[in-house]
Symmetry: C2
Subunit: 146 residues, 2 copies
DNA sequence: TTGCAAATGATAATCTTTCTCATTAATAGG
DNA sequence: CCTATTAATGAGAAAGATTATCATTTGCAA
């Protein structure tokens, strides 16, 4: 059986750095994730992974995605629709947020330092340190963009 | 069989106002919801509803909760843990948000007009009208509150 | 009060995710 | 480089949450 060849992805390196065993499947999944700039669910990740290496099972995708989330490599998102979706975790810099088009369901990412700061403040004043922010706003395209 | 007697709740009125048929079960569920100030999941709602009127099935709770959500009476929340949780929808005034204790999982509600305004602004500048905000911040209690 | 469309109850079916367990593979040490 | 050990994987079963089915019941308008 032939091993598919592709370079180690940034996420694969991250995986090794965290002391996780870098198996072929994890290498593949990490590659696929590094290559994605959207928010795939597990089914979709599995589809993409199989393209790269058919010797992979959906159970492993579930396992890997969970492992990566526990290790801060991935973040799980819920945009409705019943299945969890994943994206590469933000670095130490600013978080990013999601605007969901109420009609099309399309997900638009945005950043906003002012929002970062305000949230940090609010949480601190309540006596907590901010760990994660899960924010998605649902919006409807304005009828008359001026 | 005896009908349980209790007054129409605010949510029951809302239900009628929206032109939804006010069945005994919906009246019961609305009552239970009006009486709750937490974020019960369907199982928990079912438990509370059965207390009031045992002639109710969990299927109906699922159906009602979905109906109420579609009609803007309830909002569905995801705090992790695999099941959807529900709360009475905010009025036209300010939204409210959730701080989740990272260690205990406890949900703490808060409001913040500044945050309302900022989100509204951000979304407007992206060409959208804000429909709903889903925000929960996960925080960890500070070790040394000064 | 009656008729009918809609809602309900009980349970089957579906969908997503996790678990089980026999097999396979990664890695440290020789 | 080879081997042993320990963890990861594959395939499918199982679990958990939610939705669908269909015969029966009920709200509500006429």
């Amino acid at each position: 059986m032939k091993e598919p060849t592709f370079p180690d992805s940034p996420l694969a390196d991250l995986c090794r750095e965290r002391g996780l065993k870098l198996t072929g499947q994890r290498r593949t999944i990490a590659f696929v994730l590094s290559d994605s700039d959207d928010h795939p669910d597990v089914e979709e990740l599995y589809r993409r992974a199989v393209e790269v290496d058919p010797r992979i099972s959906i159970a492993t995708v579930y396992r890997t995605v969970r492992l990566f989330e526990e290790n801060g490599i991935l973040q799980r998102r819920d945009f409705g629709g019943g299945r969890a979706r994943y994206e590469v975790a933000d670095g130490d810099h600013g978080d990013h947020y999601h605007l969901i088009d109420a009609d099309s369901g399309k997900v638009i990412e945005f950043e906003n330092p002012e929002l970062d700061a305000l949230l940090d403040n609010i949480v601190r004043e309540m006596g907590y340190d901010l760990v994660t922010t899960r924010l998605s706003v649902v919006g409807r395209r304005k009828a008359k963009p001026r």
